[in-house]
Amino acid sequence: MFKLAKKVAVVTGAARGIGRSIALELARKRASVIIVDLLIGEAEKVAAEIRKIGSQSLALQVDVTQTEMVREKFGEAIEKFGRIDILVNNAGVLQDAFITDIKEEDWDRVIDINLKGVFNCCKAVVNYMLQQKRGKIINIASVGGKDGFPLAGVHYSASKAGVMGFTRQLAKQLAPYGITVNAVAPGTTETEMILHRTPQQKKELMEKIPMGRLGKPEDTARAIAFLASDEASFITGETLNVCGGLYMD
C-alpha cells in the first residue's frame, strides 16, 4: 500500500532535516524526487543517496522566496521529468525570540521563506497539475501555528498558521480538478532546526509530550508519504498533527 511508483515529487528544503527524510521516504516508495534547497552541496548528497536506493533524483539550487526563480527552475525540472505529481513545501526557518527582539527584517525573512515560499512553489506547479487533472500538494505547517510554542518567535507561528489557512483555501479551489492539498503539523522534531536549543530546554519540552520524546524526521516523513499516495485521495484541506500528543484538536 501507499506506493509511489512512476510519480515525480518535488521536496523543498530537502538537503537536511525533515525535508531530507521526506525525500528519502518518497524515494523508498519508488517516486522520483527533485531535491530543492539553497544548500546545493548537501542537496546533491541527498540526490546521490536516492539514486543508490534505485530511484531517480535531481538536486536544484533554488531560493523559494524568489517567485521568478522558482517558476523558472521548477519549470525546467518538471519538463525534464515529464510531470509533477507531488509537491512537498518543507523549506522553512525558525527563530526563537521574544516579540520585542524581533526586528522588521527578521519578521519579513521568516514570513518570506515559510509562507511566501509556499505560495511561490504552489504557483509554479499548479498549471502542470491542472493539465494532468491530478496532483498532491503537502505543506509543512507546525503545532506552533495552532497552539504556539513558548520558545518560537511570533513570526514563526504566524507563518505556520498562514500555511494552514493557505492549505485549506487552495484545497477548496483545486478540489474540482482532482488535486488535493494537505498539511502536516509536526511538534518539536530533532533536527538541525533546533540545534541551538539547550538540553534543559529540550528536557522541558519532552515533559510536555505525552509520548515522552521529541519527534524524529521519519515520523513526519511517513505521514507525508501517506498523504502523497493515491490511497489518500479523499483527504483534502486537512492538517495532520504529528507531535506525540503534544497538541490535540
Binding site: 478540489a175 500528543g245 490535540m248
Partner: protein, 248 residues
C-alpha cells in the same frame, strides 16, 4: 506487508467501512477478528475474503453495548491468536432526524451504541495492551461530531463528538504505555449508512463536496492501515477524510 504478525479486531466488520478495513488490514499481513452483531452472512463472507488473502480470521458475535459480550470477544481473540495489536472501534448506527423526533429512548440507545460501546471495547483490551506496552486503538467518529451537519441526529453528532473527546483523553492516559489512540472522521462514504437520502438529496449533498464524489470505504480503511503501520508519533489525533467538505 507492513502488518505481518499483527492481530487486529474490527467491530462492525460485516459490511461497509468495517468490512473494507478488515480486508485492508489482512491484505497488509494481519490476522483478523471480524466482529458482527446480526449480519452473520456478511461476516462469514469477510472471513472468506481474508482467508483468500492467506490470513486467518475469527468471526465473533457480540452486542458492543454489553460489557460481558465484549469481554468474551476479547477473551476469544486472545485464546485464538495469543495477542491483540490493533482495535478498530467502527461499529455504529445512524438515525438521521431532527431533534423534534428524538426521544430520550433513542438518545440513550445512540449514545450506548456509538459512544459507550467504544469505551467498553477499549476497557476490554486495556489490560492486555498495557501489559504488552504496545497497541493501536482507532476509533471511527464522523465529521458530524465536529460540524453537526449533514442531517445527522443530535444524538448521533453528540455521540461522535464524544468519541473525539474520549480518543484524546485515552491517548493522554495511555501514551506512556506505548499505546496510540486516534480517530478518523469520515463524511459521505459510499456505504449503506448514507443511503437514507433520496436521489435528489444525494445529488445535492455531493455537489457540496469539493472533490465532487463520495468517498470509498477502502479509502477510510487506508487511513486505518496508515495509523496502524506507520504512525508511531501520532496520538490523540482526529483525521478528517471528507473530500474537503469540512476543514479545521
Amino acid at each position: 506487508m507492513s502488518l505481518g504478525g499483527k492481530v487486529a479486531l474490527v467491530t462492525g466488520a460485516s459490511r461497509g467501512i468495517g468490512r473494507a478495513t478488515a480486508i485492508a488490514l489482512a491484505n497488509e499481513g494481519a490476522d483478523m477478528v471480524v466482529h458482527y452483531h446480526t449480519n452473520l452472512k456478511g461476516a462469514e463472507e469477510v472471513r472468506e475474503r481474508i482467508n483468500q488473502l492467506g490470513r486467518r480470521a475469527l468471526v465473533v458475535q457480540a452486542d458492543v453495548r454489553k460489557t460481558k459480550g465484549v469481554r468474551r470477544m476479547v477473551q476469544d481473540t486472545l485464546k485464538n491468536f495469543g495477542h491483540l495489536d490493533i482495535l478498530v472501534n467502527n461499529a455504529g448506527i445512524t438515525q438521521p432526524e431532527r431533534v423534534f423526533e428524538t426521544t430520550k429512548f433513542k438518545w440513550d440507545n445512540m449514545i450506548e451504541t456509538n459512544l459507550t460501546s467504544v469505551f467498553i471495547c477499549c476497557k476490554a483490551v486495556l489490560r492486555h495492551m498495557v501489559e504488552r506496552r504496545s497497541g493501536h486503538i482507532i476509533n471511527i467518529t464522523s465529521v458530524c461530531g465536529k460540524s453537526g451537519g449533514l442531517g445527522a441526529g443530535v444524538h448521533y453528532s453528540a455521540a461522535k463528538a464524544g468519541v473525539i473527546g474520549l480518543t484524546k483523553a485515552l491517548a493522554n492516559n495511555l501514551a506512556s504505555y506505548g499505546i496510540k489512540v486516534n480517530a478518523i472522521a469520515p463524511a459521505m462514504i459510499d456505504t449503506r449508512m448514507i443511503r437514507w437520502r433520496s436521489a435528489e438529496l444525494m445529488e445535492e449533498t455531493i455537489k457540496q463536496i469539493p472533490l465532487g464524489r463520495l468517498g470509498k470505504p477502502e479509502e477510510v480503511a487506508g487511513v486505518v492501515v496508515f495509523l496502524a503501520s506507520s504512525a508511531n508519533y501520532i496520538t490523540g489525533a482526529t483525521i478528517d477524510i471528507n473530500g474537503g467538505l469540512y476543514m479545521d
